[in-house]
Symmetry: C2
């Protein structure tokens, strides 16, 4: 099956202890779509300005991502983010955020996207996430990301959204902020009580946990020797996770577990290079090879 | 097979955000032995003072731990530690350390221990760890723990020790301190170059990694809702790990992977109560039940 991914498309200037890139391709929907496109057909819904370069567009097009839902605002400027990482890749400082055309973004799904069975709502204002849900049918499986800003400022809208989605992706800090629970299991349980079928709590280089009412799954991160730029790792995780589900056309327990592992290895490729460079030429067979390696690294196997 | 465990036996006063215990049973060899004794027969080699209570001794005796190697110094006082944890269970502050009889501890293995095939050297001065190795035969499989103090002050002795042991247990901070590498894989590789067959890097609530020249294994921690007191978690990990190997009489790849999982679940029981209360009545079937639960939580299973 195919998937629709809604979120930001951006240009990023990124500084890490290992280097710097200027005005590179970024945005939540970009990372998620580049990864998910290795699993299944992807339609991206977002907005860019007239300054969005042909080079950046071609990165998405070369992966056969359907861009009919990517609006270009005449005379507008693309969302810009400038961030800096210190020695801890889990912590970053935002130096500049220019919303530009993203400020007035009102996602409109092309007709071809409205009957999708899989939808990923990247991190945007929960009110916009609601508006996307209003445009799709009932049988859709919805994954959703959010961030500290919306938890603090749009709590009611976000709470209502949680009753409309199937799986929420948050990091450990966001889970604590949303629920007031610092323990990950307690936070996950509180989130499930708000409505979604499942929640994934991401811990960056320390892995991730999936919880539903009936089972949990925990995974370490794929161990990396050289993290160049963690930007987009969480979006890539969600892209691999949701792409795995859509490709399987299934959301049962064993597929959700596989999705956790595919999300984890997908994120690892993103971290190994700046911006989307770790994804641009990635093929499914590369992801699959690392998945198999990771499975060997984490499974006791045989009779245990 | 059986195992010999050498290390500290102590009384601890522990403060955590969830409570406090006074002069409770503690020490690295205590935790490791209590856990390992659920897997195989254990002989403990250590030292206590005349003040070591019958109640504390009976906790060890009730687990059938052989205490012929536990020396009692007449008129001496048992090693005392007073520590405090904040909200992050991975960080603690030492308020008081009174070495007492531990200051002049010179471990002497009873004759019955000298032909052991499995030996765990808990965290003591590497010179004493050397002296223990001088008392055993060649065919012994040796696990070894250490700490920041010895890495800083006894580096040469520790480096020489690494050429004499099979597996080193360190936490991520110690691995970085020992090697100058902040990345866990790079640090593990540097440690392997110093001699041991394998290294386990422990990350507390974030799990652990095992690395040899030919394979690696990564595991998250067992997810816990309520951590009361993490004291002894690392020692319990090593006790479960080494106990698993000794019980199997095998140190092959698949047994080492199982040992990582058994170490992880063993540590989780320790964290669920103060001092050794989580271990005192623990049976192998409890550990095994949690192992099976953990295996389900971490393995994708089936054809992936």
């Amino acid at each position: 099956m195919s998937i629709v991914i809604v979120g930001s498309v951006a240009v990023d200037t990124i500084e890490t202890p290992k280097g710097r890139v200027e005005r590179a391709l970024g945005g939540s929907a970009t990372y998620s779509s580049l990864v998910a496109s290795r699993f299944c057909p992807v339609s991206l819904v977002g907005v860019v300005g007239e300054d969005f370069s042909e080079l950046h567009r071609s990165v998405l097009e070369s992966r056969k991502i359907d861009l009919r839902g990517l609006e270009t605002v005449p005379g507008g400027k693309t969302f810009f983010w400038h961030g800096r990482y210190g020695s801890d890749p889990n912590e970053r400082e935002t130096l500049v955020t220019e919303l530009n055309v993203f400020e007035k973004f009102r996602p409109v799904l092309p007709e071809s996207c409205r009957s999708t069975r899989y939808l990923f709502l990247g991190n945007i204002d929960p009110e916009l996430q609601h508006s996307v849900l209003d445009q799709v049918g009932d049988g859709v499986f919805v994954g959703c990301d959010t961030m500290n800003l919306w938890i603090a400022n749009k709590r009611e809208s976000l709470a209502a959204l949680l009753g409309r989605i199937d799986i929420l992706f948050v990091n450990d800090g966001e889970a604590a902020q949303l629920t007031g629970e610092s323990n990950a299991i307690c936070a996950a349980r509180a989130i499930l009580a708000m409505g979604p079928y499942a929640v994934v709590i991401k811990k960056g280089e320390h892995g991730a946990m999936l919880m539903t009412e009936t089972f949990r799954f925990v995974t370490p991160a794929f161990p990396l020797e050289n993290v160049l730029d963690p930007t987009g790792a969480g979006d890539s995780f969600a892209g691999g996770f949701m792409g795995c589900l859509a490709a399987a056309g299934d959301t049962g327990e064993s597929t959700l577990k596989r999705a956790m592992m595919f999300g984890t290895v997908s994120a690892s490729f993103t971290c190994e290079d700046f911006s989307v460079a770790g994804l641009a030429n990635l093929e499914y067979r590369d992801i699959r090879r690392r998945f198999d390696e990771f499975a060997l690294m984490t499974a006791v196997g045989g009779e245990f």
